[in-house]
Symmetry: C2
Subunit: 167 residues, 2 copies
């Protein structure tokens, strides 16, 4: 198995399943006469980030993870989404971007240095595998599962199988 296989399918699985979660959330809003912006702005606690930002961060961690591991230009996307349709479009663009990487771009990347920001003025350098295991995946899943938790907490009928993308 290549290092590509440790990275790209993992991101794609959750980016796809999150698209499905948002489709169910949108249908839930329609069925229950909930204004979409209310659910898009929902948080698990007042000082946590809202659903929209959680989804944007999932996209960022997947895209930037691929870019940093392959020493490509790191993409920056403005956070302008204001609807379920726009968030799904961002997920779709992120999926296309992640799919655009060729397996050989990841060859040897597990052992190469990756330098990345961990604050406004601080960077950290880790080997690719460590960057993936200790930083990219925990952040990526953190925001994806928190998005799932916000939707569940607000009554959207989804479960872990939806999160895993197997239902």
């Amino acid at each position: 198995m290549s290092f590509h296989d440790a990275v790209v399918p993992a991101y794609l699985q959750i980016l796809n399943s999150l698209t499905g979660l948002l489709t169910k959330a949108e249908a839930h809003c329609e069925a229950k006469k909930i204004q979409p912006e209310v659910l898009l702005g929902a948080r698990l606690y007042p000082d946590m980030l809202p659903l929209t930002k959680q989804v944007q961060l999932v996209c960022d961690h997947a895209a930037r993870g691929c870019a940093r591991l392959t020493h490509s230009d790191v993409p920056s996307t403005p956070d302008t989404e204001k609807s379920f349709a726009e968030l799904k479009q961002r997920l779709a663009k992120t999926i296309d971007y992640v799919k655009s990487f060729k397996p050989e771009q990841f060859d040897g990347a597990d052992a190469k240095d990756v330098t990345f920001p961990v604050g406004p003025e601080r960077t950290m350098t880790l080997k690719g595998q460590q960057f993936l295991s200790a930083f990219s995946f925990p952040n990526f899943y953190f925001h994806a599962v928190t998005a799932h938790g916000i939707l569940r907490h607000n009554g959207v009928e989804i479960g872990k199988r939806d999160f895993l993308g197997v239902s």
Copy 2:
């Protein structure tokens, strides 16, 4: 980098950080005169699993992930924990178990078949890397982040840095 490095440090980081989250949750209960069993039984929605079960499942996915990837006997632990202290003990035992694996036990495991249950009467077979990326990690992080979400939603003063184990 070895396949061991793709598996064991990732589990350990979150098992350790979850121990820290529970320590803060316990202190929060004491400071706010909250009965610990109320927080241990908290859920994000009535048909979701409570905090205690989320932590137990994090332990199971880490321990069973290591066992399945190394073709070792798969441990089974009864879910008897009823306090923060007992849950932290279970996390500590799981950490010891995960640490007990030697790097060479994972050699070549990414390309070997892993057969695992996906329901009461169904199994699935995937290559080790796919089992890790598509099943073990998403489940492991799902329950860990949900535990974090339950605590945050209930006012425990923790953040993503606590989840990542960097604070």
